[in-house]
């Protein structure tokens, strides 16, 4: 039972080959687009790499490699399709066609995997950001420790650019010591009191760094004693709402990256559909050209298909081939083993089947 059978006359075959040649060249372009999307995502992730605890760089790397592979494979495919217009030239590519189609099928599924990765990486990103931001806030004050000295600048720039404060909300800053001991007067009683007031001996205040200040606030920024209304004149509910950025940086970064990856994922899905279309066309062309060679008449009408037998039969026969390849090697390794005649007869006939089913 042939899957997807279509009949092709000679002019139809030539037209198919020409159309596929053009589509393959367009695919090279889409491969370049895929590559550049991967590169863009890599740059975006690396920009805020310091506030992420673990990398999600495998997603852009996947996109970059599949993009490059797309360019190469479709370039080759274009060349093959151009040669398919002429039966004589097709002979050159006859043996390469099947491996080429299998390669393209594998690489098309890689594109699909890349697209799905873009959507599935969300939860991993959220956890990575939660942990990364927590550590960044803890090491905010360590501007003299090598390896962490730029965390303050990174976090400040992050809060300014994304208009966010803290991990989930600005109160997160109340729970970390973000002022280094170098700038605390340890002889002062107020400082000593604060240090003693909690178990870990940290200098905790109800204050936030300047980068949390909202530019939309009508009054100058209140950074110290943020939650307390009494030390500040005319500090009502509304002033408090507008004073600092209310959004947490985790949410801000999640929105940013989710937006980017959703657009990229959608584009990659469209590219995958296009590649699938090209692959189907190439498969039809390949089976049609092979049937032409088998019939011997270049001008005749031939059939083209996706699979010669039904899906179950094809799977079974391929599985048998793989099994017998193993058996063949076993036989060749040791000529002293007594080979039963039935197996000897079986092997050549299976070998004969291979060209017919490919």
């Amino acid at each position: 039972m042939v899957v997807g059978k279509l009949t092709f006359t000679k002019p139809e075959r030539e037209k198919l080959a020409k159309v596929l040649w053009l589509l393959n060249w367009i695919s090279v372009l889409t491969g370049a687009i895929l590559f550049s999307l991967g590169l863009f995502l890599k740059v975006e992730i690396e920009r805020w790499q310091e506030v992420m605890s673990e990398g999600i760089l495998y997603v852009p790397h996947m996109l970059i490699t599949t993009g490059l592979a797309a360019c190469c494979i479709n370039f080759l495919g274009g060349k093959i399709c151009l040669d398919c217009t002429d039966t004589n030239k097709f002979l050159r590519w006859k043996l390469v066609m099947m491996p080429y189609i299998i390669c393209t099928l594998f690489f098309t599924s890689c594109i699909l995997a890349g697209a799905l990765m873009c959507y599935s990486v969300r939860s991993q990103l959220e956890d990575s950001l939660a942990l990364g931001l927590r550590n960044a806030m803890r090491y905010y004050k360590d501007t003299d420790t090598p390896g962490r000295c730029y965390l303050k600048k990174t976090l400040d720039l992050l809060q300014i650019q994304f208009q966010c404060c803290g991990n989930s909300r600005y109160q997160d800053w109340f729970q970390v010591q973000w002022i280094s001991n170098r700038y605390l007067d340890m002889t002062s009683s107020s400082v000593v009191d604060r240090l003693r007031s909690n178990v870990e001996g940290k200098y905790l205040t109800e204050g936030v760094p300047f980068s949390c200040c909202s530019t939309l606030s009508p009054r100058p920024c209140i950074q110290q004693q943020v939650g307390d209304r009494s030390p500040h004149f005319n500090y009502d509910q509304r002033s408090q709402q507008l004073n600092l950025w209310r959004r947490g940086c985790r949410q801000a970064l999640m929105d940013h990256y989710t937006g980017i990856m959703q657009s990229i994922g959608l584009t990659v899905l469209l590219i995958w559909l296009f590649e699938l279309l090209v692959l189907t066309g190439v498969r039809y062309l390949q089976t049609a050209m092979e049937n032409v060679l088998r019939l011997g008449d270049p001008d005749s009408e031939v059939d083209g298909w996706i699979l010669e037998n039904s899906l179950a039969e094809t799977a079974r026969s391929n599985f048998d081939i793989i099994k017998n390849m193993g058996k063949c090697y076993q036989v060749d390794n040791d000529p002293n083993i007594n080979i039963p005649t039935a197996a000897e007869q079986e092997v050549p006939s299976r070998q004969l089947r291979i060209p017919v089913t490919s």
Binding site: K152, I160, I179, F210, S211, T215, R219, P220, Q223, F233
Partner: protein
């Protein structure tokens, strides 16, 4: 003796026409570039017009836009003429207006060079506009409840963050104005009353700056208030503290930003002028080579091309004579009329 005489045969003429046609298409794209640069500059000025007191001059970007459009038009027309010069029958209809068109091109090139010069010069008035605009902007920083000025605080904060600058000349400018609104000052507090009483205008002045002046690269948390008081903070010396707030004044920051933009635009316009001069010379060669055919009926005959028919000196004296004779012509007429008047 013509200036830069070159001999042409048919093949050379065709090659010349094709090259100049090609260059005209580049020139059209250059015209589009000049237009878009003018548009970009106009938008950038508009974006920060509040900081320039809405007083900035849009003369330069408008001129660039106009010159870009004219360049596109002139170059497209020139390209068409070049294309038609390959076919003698089509070229005939352009022949009479070619001299006038070349004069126009020369005038346009001079104007383009002037525009480039303006790009470099306009930096100076911009400096004054910025200084004035920033001063009044800082004065209105606290007026977030006055309609028309309520966005000044946000604009200034965003500008200081983006351009990494503080104040007009430097951060001390903030010490001289009241940037905290009276709405947020407790007039019953002694400290507030002291400060207001301490100066003639009754303003609440302090040695502090807004948060947008803070430098994220500073190793310590930002010190915004009591900046000149070393004892207010542990291990703080305001003379040696370099990274606490941005040291640069916003006037210099914005000036270097716009100055850089104008310099780049000026350089590009100079390059476009050179391209325009080249295509004008090319068209002059085409015109002169097609009008000096040895055998007018035979398109394959040889001809000569030049930039000027006589030497520069002779051309100049010719022009002077022509102008003089034009002047004399009108005088003679007047004289004749006067004679007629006396007679009658």
């Amino acid at each position: 003796m013509a200036l830069m005489l070159v001999k042409f045969d048919l093949k050379k003429r065709v090659k010349l026409a094709q090259t100049v046609w090609f260059m005209y298409w580049f020139a059209v794209m250059a015209g589009v570039l000049v237009f878009s640069m003018g548009l970009f500059f106009k938008i950038e000025l508009r974006k920060r017009s509040e900081l320039m007191d809405n007083n900035e001059s849009h003369f330069l970007p408008n001129l660039l836009i106009f010159m870009g459009l004219v360049a596109c038009g002139i170059n497209a027309f020139g390209g068409k003429v070049c294309y038609d010069s390959l076919d003698p029958s089509k070229f005939v209809k352009w022949k009479p207006m070619l001299k006038g068109f070349l004069f126009c091109c020369m005038g346009f090139n001079a104007l383009l060079l002037l525009t480039a010069l303006l790009c470099f010069i306009m930096r100076i008035p911009l400096q004054f506009t910025l200084a004035e605009g920033l001063k009044s902007g800082m004065r209105y920083y606290k007026d977030t409840d006055t309609p028309g000025r309520c966005y000044m605080k946000r604009t200034l904060d965003l500008m200081q963050i983006e351009f990494r600058c503080c104040g007009n000349e430097n951060y001390r400018d903030w010490f001289e104005i009241q940037w905290v609104s009276n709405r947020y000052l407790d007039f019953s507090a002694k400290e507030v009353k002291d400060r207001i009483g301490s100066n003639v205008d009754g303003q609440y002045l302090m040695d502090g700056v807004p948060f947008s002046c803070c430098n994220p690269s500073s190793p310590r948390p930002c010190i915004q208030h009591q900046m000149t008081n070393n004892s207010a903070y542990y291990s703080y010396d305001h003379y040696t503290e370099e990274l606490n707030v941005w040291k640069r004044g916003c006037r210099y920051a914005m000036l270097s930003y716009y100055g850089g933009m104008m310099n780049t635009i000026g350089v590009l316009v100079v390059l476009v002028t050179m391209l325009e001069v080249a295509v004008t010379i090319g068209l002059q060669y085409i015109d002169s080579s097609l009008s000096t055919l040895v055998n007018p009926e035979d398109p394959e005959s040889e001809s000569e091309g030049w930039i000027l028919e006589k030497t520069v000196k002779e051309t100049f004296t010719d022009i002077m004579d022509k102008m003089k004779s034009m002047g004399k012509g009108t005088k003679v007429e007047e004289g004749g009329q006067a004679a007629v008047a006396t007679v009658s």
